[in-house]
């Protein structure tokens, strides 16, 4: 779920770019490219490079640009940020919630994991939840 932080200058537009790619079924391709900045290029998330990455992902560029420039997904991103903050106290990235899916498609989250910790930070709560279900 996209949760761009204000302190990361281009994070919001980058999230929009990923969701615009998602409109064409390529969210993860675009997401991986946006993350994969091997030489820590500071202009990686500038518009010029984002368009290049979109092109590399094989997107219809006319449709992508229209989506990207219009801010089509901006409201959706803001909604997710607010929901994460107010309901689950998510304040930084990455933040994780674990929960079971409900019949209406929402998730009842009962565990929170803060930060990109070691595998055990994930394994323990997941095992606990799977145990509680059985």
């Amino acid at each position: 779920m996209d949760f761009p932080l204000d302190m990361h200058k281009n994070a919001f537009k980058a999230s929009e770019a990923a969701l615009c790619a998602g409109d064409q079924g390529k969210y993860w391709e675009m997401s991986d490219k946006l993350f994969n900045n091997p030489s820590n290029n500071p202009t990686w998330l500038e518009k010029e490079n984002v368009l290049k990455l979109a092109e590399e992902s094989g997107l219809d560029m006319g449709v992508f640009k229209a989506c990207f420039d219009s801010g089509k997904h901006a409201d959706e991103i803001r909604k997710r940020i607010t929901e994460g903050q107010t309901k689950a106290g998510i304040s930084g990235t990455p933040g994780f919630l674990l929960g079971f899916i409900r019949s209406d498609g929402t998730v009842k989250a009962t565990k929170k994991i803060v930060g990109a910790g070691p595998f055990i930070n994930f394994k323990t709560p997941i095992d606990e939840m799977l145990g509680s279900k059985r």
Partner: protein, 102 residues
């Protein structure tokens, strides 16, 4: 005559011997002063570094509380409709990741 010679020797000793010693001491004194000055500056720098490290430790200590702590979290109903997903769409257990690009 002998007396005069003694005076000459003494004054020679004074000019050749004592005088340079005084000059040397003044030079050494100046050098020491400089050295102390630079030591003082170094210490001030160290003090500042320590203060910054202290502040960092403080903020790290406070961070878990500020985050609300993983343990305090009880539950939340999160709408994931329209969110990009990976893995088995029929899975019961869901992990929601909040992430951003930087």
């Amino acid at each position: 005559m002998k007396n005069n010679l003694r005076w000459l020797v003494l004054s020679l000793m004074f000019f050749l011997g004592v005088q340079p010693v005084v000059a040397q001491t003044t030079q050494e004194y100046q050098d020491l002063k400089k050295e102390i000055e630079s030591l003082k500056q170094g210490q001030a720098g160290l003090k500042q570094d320590l203060q910054e490290i202290k502040k960092l430790i403080q903020s790290v200590k406070q961070a878990p509380a500020a985050q609300g702590g993983g343990d305090e979290f009880k539950e939340a109903i999160i709408n994931i409709k329209g969110a990009p997903i990976r893995g088995d769409k029929k899975a019961k257990l869901v992990m929601i990741e909040f992430t951003d690009y930087q």
